[in-house]
């Protein structure tokens, strides 16, 4: 298997991981809405995952850049910029005092990210298969 094949196999796994993180976030938000969890615990729990998620995604994007996978890089660049901007402004963490006011936005964001990871998962899968076929020929 060539480099591209390995890279996309790796990205498929990462995308699946990120996908599950987002599902977890959304489940936690709906738990909060149904009053199964209090905002303090929720924020403590979710904040552990915020930075790892951003770092993993940034690492994946970097891999695409370094290996010259331009299309995959361009697809991921906007999200990377969005995350970086949030960290720069210092509002990437969930704030327990504001969570109820901002909950609809957080949910929307998580859903959009979920969709994005899902689509990119299939894209990476497609590219992986493509790379494998190209290798076979």
């Amino acid at each position: 298997m060539t480099g591209a094949g390995w890279l996309f196999l790796f990205s498929v796994l990462v995308a699946a991981g990120l996908l599950f993180t987002m599902v977890f976030f959304i489940i936690m938000f709906s738990d909060l809405e149904c009053d199964y969890i209090n905002p303090i615990d929720l924020c403590n729990k979710l904040n552990q995952f915020v930075l790892p998620e951003h770092i993993v995604h940034a690492f994946l994007t970097l891999c695409f850049l370094l290996s010259g996978q331009w299309i995959a890089f361009i697809i991921n660049a906007p999200l990377l910029a969005y995350n970086a901007n949030k960290i720069r402004l210092g509002n990437h963490m969930y704030d327990a005092t504001e969570i109820f006011r901002t909950l609809p936005n957080h949910k929307k964001e998580s859903f959009i990210k979920l969709g994005f990871y899902l689509l990119s998962f299939f894209y990476y899968l497609y590219r992986m298969i493509l790379a494998l076929i190209a290798e076979g020929e």
Binding site: E33, D35, P39, I40, A96, T97, I99, F100, R101
Partner: protein, 930 residues
């Protein structure tokens, strides 16, 4: 003023004493119309109008009596049928059916109501403009009386059958705001007949406890959207009791009937069914069993009268809670004082004033059963703990200079019982100022001090009272001076109003969990970052007090001692959670005020101080089919006397599907309060401009909605700016908010003052918020002779003037007060005799502007003015003690401008005058539809 008593009124009118303005407010009971002028008796119409209001009252009383009789099977007619058989006498032994007794009576009342309408043509008849839909075929002015009567009949028919709200349209361009309107009660809540099981006038909570922005709730969300009025509740559940206020009835028998499904507490709006064995919840219509002991008088051990139970007769009640409502035995009240003893605090005299005030108020701290505990921690860049062994007068100081990792130097004797350690505490408080007399340390370890206080009390909970005079600079929570005059007035300014350090938020959450509440008293002369420090009281349900550039040698000491003393003396609720329940299809969507939102609708408040206001936005989720809806606020709390209680505040509002009624029942004061809260939130999350735009646009939207649906102009352009009579003050209140220190466009307001003003805007109850946005302005040199003397209801206040400097005369003496400060404006040509009389000074030239106390002299004019000042300081709820500033017309410009900035109807800098503002509104209202 020779106020006629109620006995001289024409029938159908009642007089209600209005304490703020020291005069009677005249109310026509049938229509709910109010007036400041005594109504004129019309000999012809008086007889016909008299039965209407009488029947109105009789109906409710008779109905309930009937209900009681029906329930107990008693036969005799209690009310003696004094109203011409207007109501069918209750059938003995038969179960009461709602709607039976009062129906035909109501129709009679209706017919009678229409007649007296013609009796007061001057009130609305003249104000009618031909353009409005309300009066399509209105004759031109000066038509004979008969025409007016016809018109009145038309009104009567337009009135949607039964409800009491009539829409009176006024033109904002021609009717200037009348300051007296603000203290009028909100539009009456006219519930459909038979909605309440009690005849008591207290069945609905007083509007000072809980009020809604509209007193007739629209049935659908689209109707609400059409009116553009924000729907919300404004609450002050823990309102203080002033003299003459009804105390909150207490239910001690721990029989607490609640709905099984929605957990609503039983209230006057439930329905008893099944022979009185079950009750139907007024929110979710579930039928519940009446508890067995509900009809049992446990004190006398005999069957009791169900209808006498306070929870069925009062909108505000307190239940003593049984053990199921406790997670632990009721805690004692705990007060921990964190006193800044750094150089600046000592120099300003803050420490001396604070210790003296605590000493003087030790007796007033709530401690009825000797459980209250106190601790004292002083801090500069180190922490100083004081060990106060019980029963001795000795105390020892323990210094902890390691502020990185705070620990308690001693396990016991730091947090002591107030009554046991009284002697040592008194001696310590007496010496504390001297102990640090020569302290030259600059800097403050506020964060570590807070952590230490928290460690001391975290197992119990209670109140931390912080007195700090400098920017925290050491240890956790250290803050940087981020005040930058260059960014004031720019879009970056809102950054200065956000918390600079996450510590004050995360620590607030920890406090909220451990039931610790923090009050901040801030005194700095320089930048202190009030915005960040205020987070702590904000999320722990405390309150921030700010004394910029405090100096104990001036009147500051009196102000601070008075306010600090009242805060110490006021009873507090501890370990409280608040929840607001509402009828089906209504949902509390967002919350404003000082608390931590612990779940979607549960507000955690470690300690609830008195007279703090909270605002809640309400959403209509689906069509409401019920004829009325109920809002119920319940606070489960521990009193500072060690009793677990539930305070329940219930208000019912009728619903309506009629847009004109939504407008006619709108409460401008509640709307302004809600808008203030929303604007402040916007200032912090967005930008200050956004908040101002949002305020202005809301006013435009409401006016547009009114014009489009309630006037004949519809969507087209109009020469008028129409709004209903009861919303007449809304534009000027919005203008007042736009000109408030917290929101105003200016590059000169220090961020500390802004942050403090915003803290006030979100926490003041309506009674204090209204003068804060629309100050009171009195002319003193030519006030009527009875003003300032003691009348029937205390000191008589002068009539308020509109807030414009046109009213300032060069020889006059004026007072402008906004509840937080008072200005005594002296004109430059003030008569020497006036200066002598009031200030005991030979001439105007010798008079000095600034903070002052007026001398008490032996002449009637001085005494009257002193009485007015005294009254202004006392007449409102809350601990605030306004400063008195003397402002000379040609004196210090800063002070003059400050005083003039209270006259909000004037133009100042870039901010429009009232006239300009109204024409801006008009342009927008007309322009938006092209």
């Amino acid at each position: 003023m020779a106020s006629p008593g109620p006995q001289q009124l024409p029938p159908g009118w009642t007089a209600e004493w209005e304490p703020t303005h020291q005069r009677y407010l005249f109310i026509e009971t049938a229509t709910g119309q109010t007036s400041w002028e005594p109504p004129v008796v019309d000999p012809e119409l008086a007889p016909s109008s008299s039965p209407a209001p009488a029947a109105h009252h009789a109906k409710r009383r008779q109905y309930a009596a009937g209900q009681t009789q029906a329930y107990y099977g008693a036969g005799d007619n209690l009310n003696g049928g004094g109203y011409g058989g207007a109501a069918a006498p209750p059938q003995p032994g038969q179960l009461f059916t709602p709607g039976l007794a009062a129906e035909n009576q109501f129709q009679q009342q209706q017919q009678q109501q229409q007649q007296p309408m013609g009796g007061q043509p001057p009130y609305y008849g003249a104000a009618q403009e031909p353009e409005y839909i309300n009066a399509p075929q209105q004759p031109m002015y000066g038509q004979p009386q008969a025409q007016m009567n016809n018109l009145a009949d038309q009104f009567g028919q337009m009135n949607m059958g039964q409800k009491g709200h009539r829409l009176y349209t006024t033109n904002l361009l021609t009717s200037p705001p009348d300051p007296r309107e603000l203290s009028q009660p909100p539009p009456e809540i006219v519930l459909p007949p038979n909605s309440c099981v009690s005849p008591s006038p207290f069945a609905n909570a007083d509007h000072t406890y809980q009020r809604c922005t509209v007193n007739a709730i629209p049935t659908t969300n689209s109707l609400l959207k059409k009116s553009n009025i924000p729907l919300g509740l404004v609450l002050t559940p823990y309102r203080s009791l002033k003299e003459g206020d009804e105390p909150v009835p207490l239910i001690t028998d721990t029989v607490i009937a609640r709905c099984r499904r929605c957990r609503t507490y039983i209230n006057p709006y439930v329905q008893f069914i099944d022979g009185g064995n079950r009750w139907r919840c007024c929110m979710c219509s579930l039928s519940n069993e009446v508890p067995q002991l509900f009809d049992w008088d446990q004190v006398r051990n005999q069957p009791g009268d169900r209808w006498a139970r306070p929870e069925l007769n009062h909108g505000v009640v307190e239940f003593v809670a049984p053990t199921e409502y406790m997670v632990r035995p009721p805690q004692p009240a705990v007060y921990i004082f964190l006193i800044d003893v750094s150089h600046s605090a000592i120099q300003s005299g803050m420490v001396a004033t604070a210790t003296r005030t605590i000493l003087e108020n030790l007796d007033r701290i709530p401690d009825e059963n000797g459980r209250t505990r106190v601790a004292l921690i002083a801090f500069d860049t180190s922490l100083y703990f004081f060990s106060l062994p019980a029963g001795s007068t000795e105390s020892s100081m323990l210094v902890v200079s390691d502020v990185e990792d705070v620990f308690l130097p001693k396990p016991t004797d730091l947090l002591v019982n107030l009554s046991e350690a009284r002697a040592s505490l008194e001696s310590l408080l007496g010496r504390l100022g001297d102990m640090f007399q020569d302290n030259h340390i600059i800097g403050s370890a506020l964060g570590p001090a807070l952590q230490a206080g928290f460690q001391l009390m975290s197992s119990i909970g209670g109140k931390i009272i912080v007195l700090s005079a400098s920017l925290p600079s050491v240890g956790v929570g250290a803050l940087k001076n981020r005040e930058d005059p260059k960014i004031l007035g720019t879009s970056k300014e809102s950054g200065l109003l956000q918390a600079a350090s996450p510590f004050y938020k995360t620590f607030a959450i920890e406090c909220s969990r451990a039931q610790v509440s923090v009050d901040m008293f801030l005194f700095s002369a320089g930048y202190q970052d009030v915005a960040t420090l205020a987070c702590l009281p904000h999320y722990t349900a405390g309150q921030t007090y700010f004394y910029p550039a405090f100096n104990a040698r001036t009147e500051d000491a009196i102000k601070f001692a008075h306010e600090f003393g009242s805060v110490l003396a006021q009873p507090i609720m501890l370990e409280a959670v608040m929840r607001v329940r509402a009828s089906k299809n209504l949902r509390m969507s967002s919350f404003h005020g000082n608390f931590f939102v612990r779940s979607t609708d549960l507000l955690a408040m470690p300690a609830v101080p008195q007279d703090l206001s909270y605002a809640i936005e309400v959403q209509i989720e689906d069509t409401i089919t019920a004829p009325f809806v109920v809002f119920q606020t319940a606070i489960l709390h521990t009193t500072c006397y060690g009793e677990r209680r539930i305070r329940v505040v219930t208000t019912a509002f009728p619903t309506t599907s009629n847009l004109s009624e939504v407008f006619a029942s709108a409460d401008q004061v509640a709307i302004a309060t809600l808008l203030a809260n929303k604007a402040v939130e916007r200032c912090i999350t967005h930008k200050l401009e956004d908040a101002r735009d949002a305020l202005f646009n809301k006013a435009v939207e409401i006016l547009q909605a009114y014009k489009a649906s309630m006037t004949a102009a519809g969507a087209g352009a109009s020469a008028q700016l129409a709004i209903s009579e009861n919303l007449k003050m809304l534009p000027v209140l919005v203008l007042g908010l736009l000109k408030n220190v917290g929101i105003r466009q200016s590059a000169q307001i220090p961020p500390d003052l802004r942050a403090y003003a915003q803290a006030l805007l979100t926490s003041l109850p309506a009674q204090l918020l209204m003068p804060y946005t629309y100050p009171n302005f009195y002319s003193l040199h030519n006030m009527p002779p009875e003003c300032g003397t003691v009348g029937e209801h205390g000191v008589i206040m002068p009539p308020p003037l509109p807030l414009t400097s046109e009213r300032l005369e060069r020889h006059g003496l004026y007072m402008i007060e906004d509840g937080q400060t008072m200005f005594l404006w002296v004109g430059r040509d003030a008569v020497p005799q006036l200066v002598v009389d009031v200030f005991n000074l030979p001439s105007y030239e010798v008079l000095r502007g600034g903070k002052t106390t007026l001398p008490i002299l032996d002449n009637p004019f001085n005494q009257r003015i002193n009485a007015i000042i005294q009254k202004t300081r006392e007449m409102r709820r809350g601990p605030y003690w306004p400063h008195l500033y003397i402002v000379k017309e040609d004196g210090e410009p800063a002070l003059r401008l400050w005083a003039l900035s209270c006259l909000i109807q004037d133009r100042s800098d870039v901010l429009p005058s009232y006239q300009q503002f109204i024409s801006q509104l008009k342009d927008k209202v007309n322009g938006g539809n092209y």
